[in-house]
Symmetry: C2
Subunit: 331 residues, 2 copies
């Protein structure tokens, strides 16, 4: 099993700091969650039904011709490699590591490449996996480039898989509207933008044939009743979505400024996180954790990812800890 | 995708009867659900963590040496066939059809057999799948017989898979306490007894090596945060569990009596459902549906499964509908 952010309980034990005293910046989940109202008892009690209206609402929200609800984009990441014969797969790196892990597990030939390498050599792979914007590097791609890449791959029966888990703040950059095109698979997540990582829910936007194969592979009842109920409401809540985009945009800029002022210039990021390469990343991670601030450490390249503090007090605490740490042994 | 019960929305459209006017007896889910309290916001917001105490609570409830939480026993049913080289698999039939479907999908040689055939010829298969008590037939097995079968299979590297989705009313019949034995895999569900089919949650009880392989195959965050939270409470609620056993036992007997008095002698069942073979099953199913009562129709053998009505009014409605239907064209 790969390592992930969000392991607050483990950090609390490791550093001897109670769970509720932490500032958890270890994930890219929005700290401004959509407020889930009380659930009807039937959401828990009854088997979920796939004709409950969720698909229609999601098609509207994603502006996609067709969607398949899945138990988080993680579920799709694990299932997609099972739908193809052994393929040459190029995966963006550094990037969300579960992609390469899943394709390797099912016997595909996986190469990890930079975005530039993947786009410059489209004939080198049968499947290209991009994360857009990339996590943690924040790389962005324009739609024309992606559609061109998709077309080149599709001509040979190949796929372009685009993980758009962090794109909701900038929906105009999404490929979802184009996702009926042959060989294009777009993954969306509700965990990050809606701040609902606990719901384990996401959507795949792709041609009907791919969605049918995926549905058959994933089996019935992939989403819980409570998650389906909450998502029908959250994906319909346009007013909240607009306000969240503004708020996340502002907070993202504030986070980048905070890091810059502390001498940690971000090497990339998006509204939901900032990413800093740093030779001392491991020591910095530990020093912040000793101060009750949990970040996400990457070993290769040595780097830290910072999620958004939830409020002014959180920003202040991060500023002080960074000043403290940089003034100390790591300065 | 196979056909299942619980398709109330579809039935409502098909028969032109509003959803809230139906008596839904099409599943084996308890009509007396554990009352889920309001959720903490963090259950929705944060990534679920696997060291949140759920595993320890589940080990207590199931009296099992080790357990793995899964997104319903369905998730385990789909994953288990991926952990073995091509095997000769004997599956109890008629029984929950997803078992045979899943083993076939991954290239195993599947034979569907009666319980008697499976137990009498243990050397004929590498994997034997039983449902205990069986759904819909209600067949039961004694622990000594099952452990003997397990031992014979394990000697050759084989597995006995026992789906105990409906066993919670009679926990003394469960194999969970023995589930550290080589080659024994026990599946438990919280959907039926706890009336929480919407939670999509279950547990696998098996030797550590099998659980580790299954965990790696299923990937991270298989259960939603709300489900983990609710389950920690439900599996700890001994008082509710004891009362539910009594109530379900009584209701199950009342359902069997009701069917018997209507001239439909049950051919099997358990506290949570009764099963009636009937040459006119299809017509009976339609006639009851026209009266707003949804049952589960099986084609081979022609039969109906009846879940528990939730209250006296539900029993009365079922009695009247059966009398009406049997007095009419189908009498």
């Amino acid at each position: 099993m790969l390592e992930h952010g969000g392991r607050l309980l483990r950090a609390a034990r490791q550093y001897g700091i109670p769970v509720d005293e932490w500032l958890d910046l270890s994930t890219g989940v929005s700290p401004f969650p959509w407020p889930v109202p009380e659930l009807p008892a039937a959401a828990w009690h009854r088997l979920p039904e796939d004709d409950d209206g969720l698909v229609e609402i999601a098609r509207q929200y994603y502006q996609a011709p067709d969607v398949l609800p899945v138990a988080g984009s993680q579920a799709a990441i694990q299932a997609l490699p099972q739908l193809r014969m052994t393929s040459r797969v190029g995966v963006l790196c550094p990037g969300y590591a579960e992609h390469a892990h899943a394709w390797r597990r099912f016997g595909h030939q996986v190469e990890t490449c930079t975005a530039g390498e993947l786009i410059a050599n489209p004939d080198r792979h049968d499947v290209i996996v991009l994360i857009h914007p990339n996590n943690p590097g924040g790389e962005r791609f324009d739609i024309a480039t992606l559609l061109d890449l998709n077309a080149r791959l599709a001509r040979r029966g190949g796929w372009l898989v685009v993980d758009e888990a962090f794109i909701d703040v900038t929906p105009e950059a999404s490929l979802c509207a184009e996702s009926a095109r042959d060989g294009l698979v777009v993954l969306r997540s509700v965990g990050k933008f809606f701040g609902m990582a606990g719901a384990r829910a996401g959507f795949v936007c792709a041609p009907r044939l791919v969605l049918d194969a995926l549905r058959e592979r994933l089996g019935p009842w992939t989403l819980s009743g409570p998650s389906r109920h909450a998502l029908r409401l959250a994906l319909s809540d346009r007013e909240w979505q607009a306000a969240a985009r503004t708020r996340l945009g502002n907070s993202g800029r504030q986070l980048a400024d905070t890091l810059l002022q502390a001498g940690l210039r971000p090497d990339g990021g998006c509204a939901l996180f900032q990413w800093c390469r740093n030779a001392d990343a491991r020591a910095l991670h530990a020093a912040l954790a000793q101060r009750g601030i949990l970040t996400r450490l990457f070993d290769a390249p040595a780097s830290l990812r910072f999620g958004l503090p939830p409020d002014a007090a959180g920003f202040q605490r991060l500023r002080e800890a960074l000043a403290d740490v940089r003034a100390g042994a790591l300065a």
